[in-house]
Point group: C3
Chain length 254, copies 3
């Protein structure tokens, strides 16, 4: 059992493990997000792979330490690959669901609801996506109930991030408004949580760690950036250089 | 009726509306351009969506305020999605055509010619693409005639941009040579025009506004950039921070 | 016949030809790499095209000066397009193979082995990929033998790059550790070699030139960068501005 106040130190420790072990994180993600997501994983010390071809994804996932499934720009090939990838992941490879835009498409919402039953270790989403997926408001009690009902961890990001596994809830107030001005920032956050899941078996700690790391990196980046273009580069630099002292000093977790 | 000399103020006004209303701009675009295009839209204040899956695109377009159809990297799925998207757009959602590389492929030129008959509010293209599509040289009179014949606005970009609707013609001389050294800059310009079409019903003003905004942002960015890499980030920063005084001071419209 | 010590001057000369002739380089590459690869080609002075649609790729390749085939994120459409593209390339358009991740997938390794028999002018890969493709260790003698057996040039990149055509071997010790922290850097290096092949018929010189250019640009970029995010932009700036004096002063070739 861990208290929220222990999470900043846990985040620093988990980042150290990613840098030491270079976990392989396989991402089935959308074409908009692939490049930035891969660079975010590399900046953290992880090793990304992004293939979605149905006839080779099983082999890639079998060699991975974590799997991230992101629904942005769904297509028939990605849907087929997701099923194969989950089969290859089995119980060994922890996986995270990022149900992008389920609030915008009924077909996508139905597909995501099916995935929720397949035991993701964590689900990272925003308020509108949570409301659609859970059929409930984004209050802490509702988030905790959804997490408990589905035996998963919910990482709901917004001005304040909520991380809940049904028994424990943390609130993270890091980040910068420029993060909403860079496409695929949420997808990259999900991938970073995936890297944390690869080296930390407590999915609640891993999810909180990922969101603390990207939030603190975002704050450091904002000090340097002149706008969203330079910010996108600066957050990669910041994550690459992030040290324990900065994480402890900046993390706002309750 | 508006004269070209009113366009810089119109551009500033339209940018203000994009920032206030956050229009949703759905883009069917190529994989090379998706990320930069999404970031350009976010930097302007718009909300991009990029899915091309045939079974969900109708739902996305139905919720969009503008639609941008870009032919770079055509494939069977994108072609199918374009037809569905245009059906969903109907007369309600203004749409723009960017016939990338029609000068390089006969199949693409034939497909684009079909799209021109489906009433795009605007067509953004370069000289070689115009020549192939129009079967005529890129002189102002020929551009105006093509626009009038197809009841659309042509935004032909180059050292000098020409924006014509058949009755009115504007010439815009902003921009920087580094813009040609960043891939997808034309695609991003098209998307920005799409955002302008979402908040301005006069398509000639909207098209001119989009090209003024990206041209002025490019000039501001060039002051900061050391080459095409830093320029790509700087133009997003510049668009994000662009104010009316800078637009009025820098716009060169005749 | 050329000695390794002549290669830095050759690299500067070849870069000058790319800037003067603007060769068209068609890339069949993965979605992760497309944007950065296109920007690397533009920064060098080349003109990228990236379409992979089977029904138009022949026309694009017929107008190209070089072809780059990269196997990252393979799918059925890309595989079909590769066959058509090679038919269109014939003996006229030089082509390069980048067998990304053949060490991670048996299907991909088998497909790559088939491509090696189709006479690529050069193959750019890393150590693990070479070991899988050649069934031999990455020692200079084994690399040279593989190149000779397949009548191609091997450009094996790592801390030290080896370029061998069976008769000649060069070793290049440029670059920076940050290059491994930016996704698609290897893919971009391959594309740059493709641009060199477009203007230089001696494939050994062209391959060495491409790797010298990206390595030196990487070193210049590292002087400016604060981490992998700013580095990715800085290497494009550096390549865009690279001059003969810098290439000669920095190239470490043996």
């Amino acid at each position: 059992m861990h208290a929220p106040r222990e999470l900043p130190a846990a985040a620093a420790d988990i980042l150290g493990r990613i840098r030491a072990r270079h976990p392989r994180v396989h991402c089935i993600t959308n074409a908009v997000a692939q490049n930035f997501t891969a660079n975010m994983l590399l900046a953290a010390g992880a090793v990304p792979a992004m293939t979605i071809a149905p006839d080779e994804i099983a082999e890639f996932v079998a060699q991975a330490d974590a799997l991230v499934i992101n629904l942005g720009t769904m297509d028939a090939e990605r849907r087929a690959s997701i099923g194969i990838a989950l089969g290859a992941a089995g119980d060994r490879v922890p996986w995270l669901l990022d149900p992008v835009f389920v609030d915008r498409s009924a077909a996508r919402a139905a597909f995501a609801a099916g995935l929720v039953t397949k035991h993701p270790r964590a689900i990272r989403l925003n308020h509108a996506e949570f409301v659609r997926l859970a059929g409930a408001g984004p209050e802490p009690a509702g988030i905790a109930r959804f997490a408990r009902d589905h035996a998963t961890v919910v990482g709901l990001t917004g001005d304040r991030d909520i991380v809940a596994d049904g028994a424990r809830t943390a609130s993270i107030s890091n980040g910068d408004p420029l993060m909403a001005k860079v496409t695929a920032m949420g997808c990259a956050a999900s991938a970073l949580v995936g890297a944390c899941l690869a080296v930390e078996t407590d999915a609640w700690r891993a999810t909180a760690a990922g969101l603390i790391l990207i939030g603190v990196a975002g704050e450091v980046a904002a000090d340097d950036a002149k706008g969203p273009g330079t910010f996108a580069a600066a957050i990669l630099d910041a994550l690459h250089r992030l040290d324990e002292a900065t994480i402890i000093a900046r993390a706002r977790v309750a």
